[in-house]
Amino acid sequence: MVTSGDSSQPFNWTVDEYGSTFLREMRDHKKLVGIKCPKCGKVYVPPRPVCGQCYVGMNEIVPVSDEGEIYVFTIVHFGFVDPNTGVQRPVPHGYAFIKLDGADTCLTHFLDSVDPVKVKVGARVKAVFEPKRTGSMMDIKHFKVL
């Protein structure tokens, strides 16, 4: 169910089997997983059924770390309303593509810091999980810059 301010919209989306595994592992065990291509060996996070580069099916779920490094980042200073929630995103906030240890693709997420000294390409980060998790990407509150 999508909520926007006080109202909700009747949207539901199906994720594939491997995506479900990812969300379940994160919700129930605070663990992150990827999927490995049998041909090129690339580990995709979030997991999905096909390696587009090789055009082959994938089925090997592999664990990835909840720690990794900032691949690219920005510190957002302009305010805008989050179209998912109807709530203004806080400014400034840190935003990054994070390459988790063991993964070859990045997860997009928020950072806990806007400190220009700490927030850099290559900086180490660790996922901070919400205490109450619902099976959404926001079960990760943000990534803490170490």
């Binding site: 999508v2 949207f11 989306w13 994720v15 995506g19 969300l23 995709y44 996070v45 979030p46 999905r48 587009g52 691949y71 690219v72 980042f73 920005t74 510190i75 957002v76 200073h77 302009f78 805008f80 309303v81 989050d82 179209p83 998912n84 935003y95 990054a96 593509f97 693709t105 990045c106 997860l107 997009t108 997420h109 928020f110 220009p116 850099k120 390409v121 290559g122 959404s136 990407m137 926001m138």
Partner: protein, 397 residues
Amino acid sequence: MGKRVAVVGYGQTYQRSSRKDVNGVELINEAVRVALADAELTIKDIDAIVIGNMDHFEGINYVDMWSAEGSGAVMKPVMKVTTGGTTGTSVAMCAYYHVASGMFDKVLAIGWEKNSESDTTGAIITAFHPVWERPNLGGAVAGLAIEASKYMHDYGATEKDGARVAVRERLHALNNPYAHLHQEWMKGIPPDQLVDLIVGSEQNQLLAYPLRMSDMCPRTDGAAAVIFAVEGKAEKIAPIPAWVQATANRHNFVYAGDVDMARNTTIAEASQAVFRKAGIKEPLKQIDVCELYLPYSYAGLKWIEDIGFCGYGEGPRLLWDGVTDMDGEMPINPSGGVMSSNAIGATALIRVGEGALQVMGRAGARQVNRKVNLAFCSGFGGCYWADIMLLGRKKPA
């Protein structure tokens, strides 16, 4: 191999921040009328229409149907193409394929957007995957700022290098009456001084590090229309038709986090495909002018490396040496580019139209100071995909 095809007419509206005097359909109609007049044709001469914008940006749907009275599509074959920032070049490619197939002689391509009636960042975020990406996607500016952070890290590019691109685009826009941004105060000041002024300005608000206001494209209302015609007809319509030499596009990833921000691989591969088809070995020497979809400043450094105009990390040198200025070896964006006008669905089609004007020698005050044998036009989609269309004076082999 299909039929040979050329651009024979081009029309655009004045690109402005808000066109409250017209609705979307009227805006489209303005561009169509100018294009038809330019080619000395009437709507009766048009065999089919391809139209595009990002229709969910304005919260409308079926733009092909919605706009029929303005586009001239009543009782004609019409097709909608919507591919994000590339919409305009995708519309152009689709119109080209219509004609190259031999099934239509004259096809009208239309791109438009009324950004004053939309929320760009909200629309961009909701264009992404509802489960994996929407909850925490960074929006329009952040999606580009992250790429700049990587380029600066990997190649040591500076804020001044980025500003040098912005200065070129805004200076060129002063020659283009259709451009949205006309920063008259820049007139007559040398580029290096302008860079210092921009970088040192406290009014130049930081939007998303490292991008400031001056590094970004504006949000624009505007429309463009380009007419493609088949060999045999094209020569009769236009004194100098702009022949499509080659076109290519490349898409890459599934989710945003899959993009390898180290290089722009889609524009690299699409460019190489076009160069192969057109037999181009030394792009910087052989191409006379570019109209590139550069939505923000640092793209003007990195992507020209990926296209193959110079080596990795050499983009800033090309800029500072003036190679891409109006009087340089290979001018980029005589129109002022996307950083001076960005009516999203029209933007990439304007690149094709402006490239055609350069080939035809009809670009007025923004015409480059040489005969244009080859004009290289590109489109960029919000998901780092690329369209390329190469136009030229000679019929392709």
